[in-house]
Symmetry: C2
C-alpha cells in the first residue's frame, strides 16, 4: 500500500521548480506545496510565473497562499520538517551545492521522507555522498516543462532500495505522467542521450550541405517526431518488419542501417557549431516567450487527443470483446 | 507558373503505391490515377486495400473505376502515354530493376512528363544511368504511410534541373504535405539517417542494461517524440538556450553533449540484435493489422489538432496586429 504524497517541498523556484509546483498542485485537491528559494523577490516571482503553468480552472495563486496550499519558505529548516512527505530539489546544477545540501535536509526531515533531485545530469550516487543514508536519494528527471511533458526518468543510485523507486513511479503514474525507471546511472540519462546522438547526425548533415537546419526540423516534425510521439522506435520498427516484426525489419534494412552507422562515426569537423548556430538564428530569429506559449498550447492539445483516441480504442475493443462473448 | 499535375501513373501497387494513389486521388477532384503492376490479381488487390487509405467521405473505389478517375493498366505502354503528367515508381528496391525500367518509360512519355521514384535508398543518379536525359529523374521519398505522414524528401541527382525540384515541391506542398529538398544524395537520405543513429544508441543502452526496449519507446513518446512532432530539434534547442538561443544551449550543455557523443562511439557489442528483438517481441507480441489502424487513426487526429492550433494562433496574431494598428 503506497500512501499519497501530499506534503511536498520544492527546493529552487526556477522554471523547473515552478512547473513542478503546478504539477503537484494539480495532483490532488489537498496537496500542500512548500517552496524554498533564497531569492529576495520570491513572492513576486511566484505570483508572476506560476499562473502561466496552472490550468485556467485552477484556484488562483493568491487563493492558494491564503488557503495554505502554497507556502513560501524563507529558510531551509522551515521548508523541510518532520511532516514533509517529499523534498524535491532543483537548485543550481553543481555537484558541490547538491552534495552539501542533502545532509542538511536529511537532518531536518523524518526518516520516511522521500528525497528526489530533478537534476539533468548529476547522479544520485554523487549527490548523496555526504549523506548518512545515501540510498534514500534518487533522481526524478523531467522533460521540460514538467507540468506538461509526460516523461519522468526515475534514476536510482546503486544503493537505492526498490521501494523508493516504486513510490516515485507510483506517484507520477497516478497523476497521469509517464515515469520510466532507468537501470543504471549514465551521462545524460536516456532521453537526452538519444536526443544528442540524433542532434550530432543532424549537425553533420547540415555541415556537409546535405540539408539546412530548419529543413532538419521540418523533416523530423513530419516523420519520426510525429510517429515516435505516438509509437516509439522499437514498436514502430517492429510494426514495419512484416510478419517477422523487428527481426524482419533488421533483415530487410539492416545493411542500410549499418552503412549509416559507419558513415556517422567520428567527430564533427571544425566549424559545425558556427554553421548550425548561424542557420538556426537566421531561420528562427531571437527566442520570444511567445514561442513557449504556442508550443505548450499545441502540446497540451496533442496529448489530449492521443489520450482521447487511446481511450476510445480501448473502449471499442472492450465492447467488441463483450459482443463476441455474448454470441 | 506551375501547372497542376492531374494525370499520374503509379508503377507498383504495393502498400506505398496504393497509399500514394489515395493521396493523389484526394489532391484534386479531377485527377486521374493510372496504376501499373504486373500482378495477376491487381483489381481484387486494389479493391481490397485502397478503401482503407481513402477518407470515409471519398467516392468508393468502384465509382472511381466507372468514372475513369482510377485506371488499372495491364502493360507499361498503356500506363505511360503522351498525356501522362507524372510517372511515380515504387517497384522492387533493386538497382537493376529501376535502371532498366526508366529508359522504357522515357521512350513512352512526353518530354515534359515528370519522373519520380519513391525509393527509400537507390539514388536518382544510379537509377537514371541508362536514360537519354538522366537529369529528369528525382527521388520523392515518403515516410510510410504517405497518405498520412506529411514528409516527402525530394532528392534530385546532381544533374536534375531546379525546375523539376520546384514542380515536385509545389505539388506536395499544395496538397498539404511537407516536401523538403535534400541537397545531396546520401545513404538513407535524411529522416532515416537521423532515425537510425538514434536507434543505435537505443540498442546500445538496451544491451548495457540501462533501459528495456519498451521503456525506450515510452521515454521517446513522452519526451523527444512528442516535442519534435511539434517543433524539431534545432528550433527546440534554440528555444532552450535562453536569450542566446542555440548558441546558449551549446554553451550550457555542450560538455554533456560531447560526453554522450564520445560514449556513443564505436560498434555495438555482439548479441545486441538478439537482445532487442527478444525484448521487443516479448513486449509487443506478433504484429497485427490492427496496429496500423490504431496508429493511423491517432496520427490523423494529432495532425488535425496541430493544424487547427497553428491556424488559430496565426489568426489570433493577425487580429492582434490589426488591433494594434487601429490604436
Amino acid at each position: 500500500m503506497l500512501l499519497p504524497l501530499e506534503n511536498i517541498t520544492l527546493i529552487g523556484a526556477g522554471t523547473i521548480g515552478l512547473s513542478f509546483a503546478a504539477l503537484h498542485l494539480r495532483s490532488s485537491a489537498s496537496s500542500i506545496i512548500t517552496i524554498y528559494d533564497p531569492r529576495p523577490d520570491l513572492e513576486a516571482h511566484v505570483l508572476s510565473l506560476l499562473p502561466n503553468y496552472l490550468p485556467p480552472t485552477h484556484p488562483p495563486v493568491p487563493t492558494l497562499f491564503s488557503s495554505g496550499r502554497l507556502v513560501l519558505s524563507p529558510t531551509l529548516s522551515a521548508a523541510c520538517t518532520l511532516s514533509t512527505d517529499v523534498v524535491q530539489e532543483q537548485g543550481p546544477e553543481s555537484a558541490d551545492f547538491k552534495t552539501s545540501l542533502w545532509p542538511q535536509i536529511e537532518a531536518l526531515v523524518s526518516p520516511s521522507c522521500h528525497l528526489w533531485s530533478s537534476t539533468s545530469g548529476i547522479p544520485a550516487s554523487v549527490q548523496s555522498s555526504q549523506m548518512t543514508n545515501p540510498g534514500r536519494l534518487l533522481v526524478v528527471h523531467p522533460f521540460n516543462p514538467p507540468h506538461i511533458m509526460p516523461l519522468v526518468e526515475i534514476v536510482p543510485s546503486p544503493t537505492t532500495p526498490e521501494v523508493e523507486v516504486e513510490v516515485a513511479s507510483y506517484y507520477f503514474d497516478r497523476i497521469g505522467h509517464s515515469p520510466v525507471v532507468i537501470g543504471k546511472e549514465t551521462t545524460g540519462f536516456v532521453a537526452n542521450r538519444l536526443a544528442f546522438v540524433l542532434f550530432r547526425e543532424a549537425c553533420r548533415l547540415v555541415q556537409q550541405g546535405v540539408v539546412r537546419a530548419e529543413d532538419v526540423d521540418r523533416i523530423v516534425e513530419g516523420s519520426i517526431g510525429l510517429r515516435w510521439g505516438i509509437k516509439g522506435p522499437f514498436a514502430s520498427y517492429h510494426d514495419g518488419g512484416g510478419a517477422n516484426g523487428l527481426e524482419g525489419f533488421l533483415e530487410n534494412v539492416g545493411r542500410t542501417v549499418e552503412d549509416v552507422w559507419k558513415e556517422g562515426e567520428g567527430p564533427l569537423e571544425d566549424g559545425w557549431k558556427e554553421m548550425v548556430v548561424k542557420q538556426t538564428e537566421s531561420a528562427y530569429g531571437p527566442v520570444s516567450p511567445q514561442n513557449f506559449v504556442e508550443r505548450d498550447r499545441i502540446t497540451r492539445r496533442v496529448l489530449e487527443v492521443i489520450r482521447e483516441e487511446r481511450e476510445a480504442i480501448a473502449r471499442e475493443k472492450a465492447q467488441g470483446d463483450t459482443a463476441s462473448e455474448e454470441k
